[in-house]
Amino acid sequence: MTSNGPGLGRVVTPFISSLLALIAAFVVGGIFLEARGKDALGAYWLMIERGLASPLGISETMIKAAPILLVSAGLLIALKAGVWNIGVDGQFLVGALLVGVVTPAVVDDLPRGLVWLIAALVGVLGGLLWALVPALLKVRYGLNEIITTLMLNYVAVSLTAWSVKGPFRDPNTVAPQTVAIPRASRLPDIPGTDVHVGLLAGIVAIVVVALLFRSTTLGFKLWVVGQSVPAATHVGLPVGRLTVFALLASGGAAGLAGASDLLGVKGLFQGEWQPAYGLTAFALVYLARLQPLWVLPCAYLFSFLDFGGGVMARSADIPTYFVAMVEGLMLAFLAVATAWERQGGMLGKSRWRRARLDAVETSPDPADEST
């Protein structure tokens, strides 16, 4: 929250270690490619050329960034409040499905603006509802949200697939999908570009989250809960309500991302569609050190990777799974870098002993809790 020391130093070091983690991931990935007989440098160059140097690449990247920004914004709120929402994929799908079902039903009767508003609300509602069960389970029964959100992810995948193949199916098409939203009603592009306005929604969401944590009491309270639930209880914060809020907010954001993708890109919900932004968003948000404003360039980077993966698959015979590999490596290297910083520039086996003194002074003795 308030800065904890010399300002610049605290910005530069994390930035450098993030950068290094990034580079390291690409280097290791490149080595792997070479080992498999692919031309790593060539592939990377191709990715940069088509992705960064071509207008098509740039706009495709930005289009991909839209949902990721929204999902990341939600994830930020959750993580800062100490809630592990692993279920953003499921929340995304449910939001998208509801939009895909509701929008065609209203598109003929209402003006475009209203349609979009309804779609946005429906998307948020869908994601929010899908996060409601884990939220309540956590607050009421203390159930770890990691498991509950994870399980609901898989339920969502099956549920949406089933719905699209069954009750919400477009009877006029062969392939299982919802009724398509007419092009005229889909999200327009930002004037002068090929990118739909969903991107703006994503950017706004990030800015809102940044303001939330920097300047509002709500953000401050969420942060306290994320830092220490006992302290939050002690000072009288409504921990349960704040936790639920964080989960619902992140679910709603994921749902909105689903709406954005559906209205702006796909126009319909295909059976078996699972873009699975969740894990990517997680890696991204971590790369951005949970700082909202850093999410912007990181999201661009990851979308760029995603696009680049497609390029490499088509032109360099490199399966798209490579992108997941690089992202995983990046997350791992970054995590190591964070740990390295946190320990004052040290890693290694003896850290358990080094930290003993702190443990002696601060160790909570579970045996002391009132039984």
Binding site: I147, Y154, R342
Partner: protein, 316 residues
């Protein structure tokens, strides 16, 4: 509906359930050991995938089932060790490491499957069957439970072994202490790091074996993402089973049954969408968790490197 020999059908379904339960059970047992030591291993899905792919790959290359199993188990071991190094020695956050491993392993196995096998890798599955005389003659239950491959019997044996390990050995005592109050264990002279390393290596090995069994002992092929979240189900199963080996075994069997149900209902002519049925295991876990909510006592140090404050403080 006529002309179907129900005994045979039920027997086959039960048999399928038993086999289907194996990967879940093995992975969950390993995860229970890790969690008892205070390690939350979200990389379990990646470890299963890794074990699965490299088992099939090795089996295909060496044309030997044993070779494949060893390779798969070895992969799990290596990944478990990696998790250990990152979380124990480097003190990296466990959740992040787990997700990174799962993400990476998913990418790696998918990549190699595409690159080497065009997305579908097959392997020989020929483990010798062993029918236990007498018992295997029991109608319906007999062939399902007592006429299985040696491999299946072996994995069942893991259940009492794990129970013994946890309750009656020095290692088990150390494990329970480390997961609950690592500082005390350390002060008593227990090498906390070593115990945790052992625990996560065991967990990784078992997860790798589970993946290997899945693709060699059950399915006989590998495709990207073949584990479909079973690793995470095993994680949930370990919790739901209260980290007790026998309960985990029962839970795994229930799951296997639920999945067999899909096929069974199909044979019986009942029309249920496969997607709908696919949801059931996950919903089942949720319900089980809620029902047991009051009674699961997490190892107090689960998921934490010991000084939690410091871990959190960087998340600004």
């Amino acid at each position: 509906m006529n002309g179907i020999d129900w005994e045979v059908v039920l027997s086959v379904l039960l048999s399928g359930a038993v086999i289907g339960a194996v990967p879940l059970m093995v992975a969950a047992l390993g995860e229970a050991i890790a969690e008892r030591a205070g390690l939350l291993n979200l990389g379990i899905e990646g470890m299963m995938l890794g074990g699965a792919f490299f088992a099939v790959h090795a089996a295909a290359e060496t044309e030997s089932l044993v070779g494949g199993l060893l390779a798969g188990t070895g992969t799990g071991l290596a990944m478990g060790l990696l998790f250990g190094v990152l979380t124990i020695s480097f003190r990296v956050d466990q959740v992040v490491v787990g997700l990174a491993i799962t993400l990476f392993a998913g990418g790696l196995t998918g990549f190699l499957a595409r690159d080497l096998y065009d997305g579908h890798a097959t392997a020989p599955t020929s483990a010798p069957d062993l029918a236990i005389p007498g018992l295997s003659q029991i109608p319906v239950v007999g062939p399902a439970l007592f006429d299985q491959s040696l491999l299946v019997y072996l994995t069942w044996a893991l259940v009492p072994i794990c129970a013994f390990l946890l309750g009656k050995t020095r290692f088990g005592l150390n494990l329970r202490a480390v997961g609950e109050y690592p500082f005390a264990a350390d002060a008593a002279g227990v090498d906390v790091d070593r115990v945790r390393y052992a625990a996560i290596t065991i967990a990784g090995t078992m997860a790798g074996f589970a993946g290997a069994f899945l693709c060699l002992g059950d399915l006989s092929f590998f495709e990207p993402g073949i584990t479909v979240g079973q690793g995470f189900i095993a994680l949930a199963l370990a919790m739901v089973g209260g980290w007790r080996p026998y309960r985990i075994a029962v839970g795994a069997l229930v799951f296997g049954l639920l999945r067999s149900l899909k096929t069974g209902l199909g044979i019986a002519g009942v029309e249920i969408q496969p997607d709908f049925l696919a949801m059931i295991p996950y919903i089942g876990i949720l319900i089980a968790l809620v029902v047991l909510a009051g009674r699961t006592a997490l190892p107090a140090a689960l998921g934490m490197p010991y000084a939690r404050d410091r871990g959190r403080s960087e998340r600004e």
